[in-house]
């Protein structure tokens, strides 16, 4: 069969796809063996086709399918809620979040161990609603009583301090010093001093007696 370069170009795809009749295939091969131009063309086009076939598909963007579904089926609220939940759950996997959780749990464990009830002593009866309410009520009242007592004590202390501070200093103080003028130098310490311990304590004792009488 006579063959030429034009026929090679026209039949090239069929030749490379294996769709050429055997006689034509043999003729083209024989021609290409003698024609450098046709041989290069067969090699060039064949190589390119192999490259195209080996080319991996381009991955579409992740959001493309959601975008298509939104314009066809409409916005899907359920999926967005689901995605939000997924996004929230994804934060748990972060090392920073895990470290935070561990720190909080450890802190609570230490605090509960120090001040809270021990889990070992908890009985089933303690979990009854009536007992829980009673304990909570007792705790509230105790806390209130402690706070009221603390405030009351504080008022006594400040009243004593203010009485000491309002007394005029003796003008004939021979040697100024902490012991000679206790009311102005260290009122806190002196407020705790027994009334008959020092000279100034006599006056402090009288004042304390007045304050106690007042209260």
């Amino acid at each position: 069969m006579d063959w030429n370069c034009t026929l090679t170009e026209e039949a090239l795809s069929d030749f490379l796809d294996g769709a050429l009749a055997p006689a034509e295939r043999a003729a083209l091969s024989a021609h290409a063996a003698e024609c450098e131009v046709c041989a290069q063309m067969v090699e060039r086009v064949g190589g390119m086709i192999r490259r195209l076939h080996a080319l991996a598909p381009v991955e579409e963007p992740d959001y493309l399918q959601a975008r298509i579904l939104n314009v066809t089926l409409g916005p899907r609220s359920s999926e967005s809620v689901f995605q939000r939940w997924l996004g929230w759950l994804g934060e748990i996997g972060q090392p920073r979040f895990a470290m935070g959780v561990v720190t909080v749990v450890a802190s609570l464990a230490i605090v509960l161990h120090a001040v809270g009830p021990s889990l070992r002593t908890v009985k089933a009866a303690d979990l009854a609603p009536a007992n829980v309410v009673r304990r909570a009520d007792r705790g509230v009242h105790l806390s209130y009583a402690r706070a009221a007592r603390f405030v009351s004590d504080l008022r006594v202390v400040y009243e004593i301090q203010s009485r000491f501070a309002s007394q005029p200093e003796p003008k004939t103080s021979p040697s100024p010093g902490p012991a000679s003028n206790p009311a102005t130098s260290e009122p806190r310490d002196k407020s705790r001093t027994p009334p008959d311990s020092t000279g100034g304590g006599t006056r402090g004792g009288e004042l304390a007696a007045q304050v106690i009488g007042y209260w």
Partner: protein, 189 residues
Amino acid sequence: MEPDAQLVERCLRGDGPAWEELVRRHARRVYNLCYRFTGNPTAAEDLSQDVFLRVYRTLASYQPAQGAFPTWLARLSRNLLIDHYRRTRRDRLTDSLDDAMPHLEAQNSPAPTPETQALSGELSAQLQQGLARLSPELREAVILRDLQGLEYNEIQMVLQIPEGTVKSRINRGRVELARVLEEMGMRPA
């Protein structure tokens, strides 16, 4: 796996999950067709969305007896791609397709995608540039045959042209693309 034709029937009965499955199954193929034809990821996304929107609206016109669903999908995609090509050609105010296409796509080419970077910006990018220098008729024929893997009769149905013309376009497209790639310094594999 449930055949496409059954999924289409379910879609026509208003089955949302069936449509989701169709989209999931064919989104990549449609996106690749659009991307290889336009060379522009953003345009490919928009066109893929337009393709599926048109598919959704005209799903009732699909007849399984006339061909496989991917073939029908490719035909719709191709029609939209040609519309897009003509629209952008008018925007460019030029009549010279072969001269304008490389210029246009070089201007519109975004930063390299991860896919092109994965191939060292060489193989895929060069093939994409070479495709962009083909006329749209030759380009679509080569894409459908060598990148989408369609048979000649399927391409004939997609392009709605005689089989002889399909073969001729594929052959000319391959020879032309190989010549362009050689000019770009790409050696055969």
